[in-house]
């Protein structure tokens, strides 16, 4: 941060352009996902036109090989991406933060054991862990996908939480809190969690994007929510066979996923400045 920026300090930061673009992109997906609960342009399962029609005013993204409206299915895909993203981050966040805090407070050997386990888990690709979880359950469903991705994310969240919490625990204000008789749970709630939250929140947003991508990958492999759930990964897989005759089928779900992930990342960046008062004052 340069001296010039410091002299232009106005005390309060205004929401940045980054934040607004992120809000608009993610908001678009949330709006569409909510809309599809009550209304879709066409019956998602019905034959509404010819097979593999090119995009037109009637069918914005054309039709698939069964003559179903492709745009309707992409809209429904938003629902799945958001549900899986939110569910996986909730599960991964809850498990990861608890484990991370536990490790930060634990005795030397328990901490070492946890840290080593986490490092091993992180060495496995997220998708591989998710595939193992899905394979271990009887059949692939939306819930197994959420659980699988959530568990895979929890190791990453736990490691980050552990490092962040350990750094905060070394600071003077923790010693100060202890000298005034604050209990360990009190220190976690009043000091540790609020101080690691800005970094965690940004990481959660990034994990949300990763979860959406992981869900598409699982569905692409046939391990996600089974049809007729219109997951983007599943749509991509179906369109693969006709990619030369109807490229829109492979392009549109990918674009929807990119818009969501980019939007979330921008939102995360923008939000970070609000979560941390010392940072906003320095801007």
């Amino acid at each position: 941060m340069s001296a010039i920026e410091l002299t232009e300090d106005t005390g309060r930061s205004r929401p940045s352009l980054t934040l607004w673009v992120g809000v608009v992109l993610v908001g678009l997906h949330v709006f569409i996902a909510l809309l599809t609960v009550v209304w879709t342009p066409y019956d998602p399962l019905g034959m509404t036109g010819g097979r593999l029609e090119a995009p037109s005013w009637a069918h914005w993204a054309g039709t698939d090989r069964l003559g179903r409206d492709f745009f309707t299915q992409i809209m429904l895909g938003s629902q799945i991406a958001l549900v899986v993203g939110a569910g996986a981050v909730a599960i991964g966040g809850a498990i990861g933060v608890s484990l991370g805090i536990l490790a930060a407070f634990a005795s030397r050997w328990l901490d070492d054991a946890l840290a080593a386990t986490l490092d091993i888990l992180i060495a496995f690709p997220t998708l591989l862990i998710a595939m193992l979880v899905v394979a271990a359950s009887d059949e692939a469903s939306l819930f197994t996908a959420i659980l699988a991705i959530g568990l895979a994310l929890s190791a990453i969240v736990a490691r980050l939480t552990r490092i962040l919490a350990k750094r905060v625990l070394l600071l003077d204000y923790i010693t100060a809190a202890r000298t005034s008789g604050t209990s360990w749970p009190g220190i976690v709630v009043t000091h540790v969690l609020p101080n690691i939250w800005p970094t965690l929140a940004v990481n959660f947003a990034l994990q949300f994007g990763l979860a959406a991508i992981a869900e598409a990958s699982l569905s692409y492999l046939g391990l996600g929510a089974p049809p007729p759930n219109a997951s983007w990964g599943h749509l991509l897989q179906e369109a693969q066979g006709t990619v030369y005759t109807a490229p829109i089928g492979a392009f549109a779900p990918g674009l929807a996923l990119v818009i969501l992930v980019v939007g979330i990342n921008l939102l995360a960046d923008g939000l970070r400045d609000f979560a941390d008062p010392t940072r906003s004052a320095r801007r």
């Binding site: 030397r108 600071l171 003077d172 204000y173 010693t175 100060a176 809190a177 202890r178 000298t179 005034s180 008789g181 604050t182 209990s183 360990w184 009043t190 000091h191 609020p194 101080n195 941390d276 008062p277 010392t278 004052a281």
Partner: protein, 269 residues
């Protein structure tokens, strides 16, 4: 009445390095004691050992009694109620001793609420707010109503230290441990904070353990001094006696250094 703190033959080891060697120190209720020595002489370590907050990896032997409770070897759970009731601490660097993400008023409210609860009263929000304002007025923070909503980085160094002192006062401790509370401040602010501490200690009838490397500063606020060097107590006695007729070489050199510094200042002026 028995002593608040009774340290007897305390030794602290880090591996095979000895950090404190046979340190003995006691503080009676209402007594003001200065702990003097250069950096690394074990002053702060002694204070932390007194409240059972030694870093993990350090081993202590000897005896530390805090309000009659043996601290060495005690569970954290048994010591927790003593911290904040028997002792409270003000640290050297108020910027790092305050949580950067909490408005200062809320930081003071935290130990305050704990104390009121312990006294069997669940304070209302308004009562808590009012008491925070009172404390901030006691430490002479200008415009407490607005300042209590500020974050630590929005206050000056002196104001931050006043907040830290208010936090310690909120505990209403029998012993206030002040660990180099003026070292990070400029000279004018130092004098103000010292006057404030001396007044608060007198008003509330608290005992004071004042840790510093700065002789003239210590001399102004305490009755008795304990001089430490390399983890050993080298001299102890009433402040006037020790400073006018130091017996130990190290104390003599400290006093001489302070005098020559004063002379140098006068020479310039």
């Amino acid at each position: 009445m028995s002593n608040l703190v009774d340290i007897g033959n305390l030794s602290v080891q880090a591996g095979n390095r000895t950090l404190l060697d046979n340190v003995s120190l006691s503080i009676a209720p209402g007594e003001r004691v200065g702990l003097i020595g250069e950096s690394g002489s074990g002053k702060s370590l002694t204070a932390l050992a007194a409240i059972g907050l030694l870093a993990p990896g350090l081993t202590a032997s000897g005896s530390v009694q805090l309000a009659g409770q043996q601290v060495i070897g005690a569970q954290d759970r048994t010591l927790m109620p003593l911290r904040g009731t028997v002792t409270a601490t003000v640290f050297q660097e108020p910027l790092t001793a305050l949580d950067p993400l909490l408005p200062v008023g809320r930081q003071i409210a935290e130990p305050l609420r704990r104390r009121l609860r312990r006294d069997g009263r669940g304070p209302s929000r308004a009562e808590l707010d009012a008491k925070v304002q009172t404390l901030l007025t006691q430490v002479a923070l200008p415009d407490p109503a607005t300042r209590s909503r500020r974050y630590p980085h929005e206050l000056s160094g002196g104001q931050r230290q006043r907040v830290a002192i208010a936090m310690a006062l909120a505990c209403r401790p029998q012993l206030l441990i002040a660990d180099e509370p003026t070292t990070a401040l400029d000279v004018t602010t130092q004098a103000e904070i010292l006057r404030l501490l001396a007044k608060l200690v007198a008003d509330n009838g608290m005992a004071l353990l004042f840790i510093s490397h700065d002789l003239p500063v210590v001399a102004r606020v305490v009755d008795r001094v304990v001089v430490m060097q390399h983890g050993v107590v080298v001299e102890t006695g009433p402040v006037a006696e020790v400073f006018s007729a130091p017996r130990h070489d190290y104390t003599r050199s400290l006093v001489a250094a302070a005098r020559s510094f004063d002379r140098a200042l006068e020479g310039v002026a």
